[in-house]
Symmetry: C2
Subunit: 181 residues, 2 copies
């Protein structure tokens, strides 16, 4: 099993259990690797596993969302791709956001800077495309924040209600939020 495959299997554990809930036992069960094998791949232990997960998701975002967002097609089409990317990334709302989950407890102290940068990247990328429509920097930033807030809030509500329609409705609103108001 390649390291990428291992990391892929670590991801859902951190997302669903958070840092403290993601025990090495659970990580072991999820990967099919015994504890000692995990420590072979991640000599920095659980902290390094979490880092790898964050990095992996960062790469995923870059290729599946940010890159298409910068492609030379009409902005409306790019936003459709954005929505599809978000839907897939969060598994229609069923998968918690690693950013929201890791900003709690012990993990926050360990990863706060990385999380902040990751969120800043999100907001910048979204702001950029909004600015293309002739909107001011300030207003573009606000719309980007509103969009991300809605997504994050939808994830919480889906988790509690098990109603993924809420997530669908939330992401369907993204075009209005970003392009008009």
């Amino acid at each position: 099993m390649s390291k990428q495959e291992v990391i892929n299997k670590l991801v859902p554990v951190f997302r669903h259990y958070g840092y403290e809930g993601a025990t090495v036992s659970r990580l072991s069960a999820a990967t099919g690797l015994k504890k000692a094998s995990l420590y072979y791949h991640f000599q920095g232990g659980k902290e390094q596993m979490a880092e790898a997960v964050l990095e992996h998701i960062g790469d995923l975002l870059e290729e599946s969302i940010f890159l298409p967002l910068r492609s030379p097609i009409p902005i409306e089409e790019r936003i459709v791709i954005l929505i599809e990317g978000i839907d897939k990334l969060y598994e229609s709302g069923r998968a918690p956001c690693v950013l929201a989950v890791m900003s709690l407890g012990e993990a926050d102290a360990l990863f706060h800077q990385a999380l902040e940068q990751s969120l800043e990247k999100w907001l910048n990328e979204l702001s950029q495309i909004v600015e293309e429509t002739g909107v001011s920097k300030k207003e573009a930033r606000i719309r980007a924040e509103d969009a991300v807030m809605l997504i994050q809030g939808a994830l919480v509500l889906v988790r509690v209600t098990n109603n993924t329609q809420l997530f669908q409705r939330a992401i369907a609103k993204i075009p209005q939020i970003l392009l008009s108001d």
Copy 2:
């Protein structure tokens, strides 16, 4: 120290660390009571402590938010009180929502039903006042959901950015969301 005072000191630990991160040691440090004393008050252990916290927050909501929401004053004024209540409850966005935090990991299995009911109560209370304005049941529900999503999303963004202005902006939007669209 009264039981209510003890519970009050348990609350922030569960909110900031989540269920698994809220270790009995941390709960002991936060309350100033040794572990054995905590177990005297909560014979059901940590699970019962979490239950007490959820119940306590439920009561808090009832008296500080839901009750004023039903008082016989103009709807706009009630919504101002609602916003003040939310601002205080979430400490201007600095305090995570127990609902969002406890819907993760092990805690979700233990408390899912309670969380679902708690959220349902929120959505119903908000829907009620929206319906008063002559809006359909369906539309009122949607507006209530949108308002709660925005708040939950704002809490995540504030946690990561440390920018409480985002929360202020979010709650300032509540009147528009509930009363118009």
